[in-house]
């Protein structure tokens, strides 16, 4: 498909997709983990002082 240098082209796109996909997955999973722990703390009644007046 890409001639004699197909391996180099596919390796570039493959590794880039893996690296960027892995980065995105890491950020998504990190966000879920942090928000779950935050919710657990708030469910235990621990809240920030400003939570009532300024939280989105």
């Amino acid at each position: 498909m890409f001639g004699e240098h197909g391996f180099f082209i596919l390796a570039c796109y493959g590794v880039s997709a893996l690296a960027l996909g892995g980065l995105a997955l890491w950020i998504i999973l990190d966000g879920r983990s942090v928000r779950r722990r935050l919710n657990e703390m708030e469910a235990r009644g621990v809240r920030r002082r400003s939570a009532g007046r300024s939280d989105a």
Binding site: E4, F8, I9, C12, Y13, G31, R37, L38, M41, R48
Partner: protein
């Protein structure tokens, strides 16, 4: 809404929560169009089909430098205005920029093997880009080595400002020194030297990757703000438990 109003973590969370899904979708759609055009574009008369690597390598290089420039701007926000959102932006960008710098070097190396006959040469462009990657990794190591987050933020800000001197070196290395790496072919005073059939797919891919980087940065900033809030709550819970 004034720009400074956005520099409030709570307002940032509210706004970014609305913007992030659209920004992510736009990034993926732009990349899909860019790749469609890139894979339909003709082969280069010299590089042949390996020019396809340029549609990702060049944006990675631009964005590795853009990411470090954002780090330097955030560092000013940390050191001059001591703004907490600047520290959040700084911390969130370092791993993202490191991935883009790594991918720039990796794709460039795989392009170099068939085109130059070697994966690597110690020329000024390649070496200064490697230094940029090492600066990103140094920032990550520095933050994890200092326990106090405020001290870590200030130290990382100083390092990123000092390291910013490398960004113009990366950009102009091909003009200042005799390098194997070709000179700039898009952002030139006399206009691009690339044929439009190759230039447009490249620019659209670059726009798509830029939107992707901004979306990843926004999501990582949201995580960091939540992490800091969690840290405060954990400290409060620990203090309450100690007094109980």
């Amino acid at each position: 809404m004034a720009l400074m109003d956005l520099a409030n973590p709570t307002r940032f969370l509210a706004l970014s929560g609305r913007v992030l899904p659209w920004l992510s979708g736009l990034a993926l759609a732009t990349l899909a169009i860019g790749f469609l055009l890139a894979f339909r574009a003709p082969a280069d008369y010299q590089q042949g089909e390996t020019v396809k690597i340029m549609y990702i390598h060049v944006p990675f290089a631009w964005l590795a430098m853009f990411g470090y420039s954002m780090l330097a701007a955030s560092a000013l926000g940390i050191l001059v205005w001591r703004h907490p959102l600047a520290d959040v932006a700084h911390k969130a960008m370092a791993p993202i920029g490191a991935v883009f710098a790594f991918l720039c070097l990796f794709t460039g190396s795989l392009w170099g093997r068939p085109m130059w006959g070697t994966y690597w040469v110690w020329d000024a462009r390649l070496t200064s880009m490697l230094v940029l990657l090492l600066l990103y990794l140094g920032l990550l190591a520095l933050r994890s080595a200092i326990e106090d987050p405020n001290q870590a933020g200030r130290a990382a800000a100083v390092l990123s400002l000092v390291g910013f001197v490398n960004v113009p070196i990366v950009k102009f290395s091909v003009d200042w020194w005799n390098t194997l790496h070709q000179p700039a072919s898009v952002f030139r005073m006399d206009g691009p030297t690339i044929h439009s059939s190759l230039l447009w797919p490249l620019l659209i891919c670059a726009l798509g990757f830029t939107l992707l980087m901004l979306a990843l940065h926004m999501a990582a900033m949201r995580n960091e703000i939540h992490r800091r809030r969690l840290r405060v709550l954990e400290a409060r819970a620990a203090a309450e438990a100690a007094y109980a």
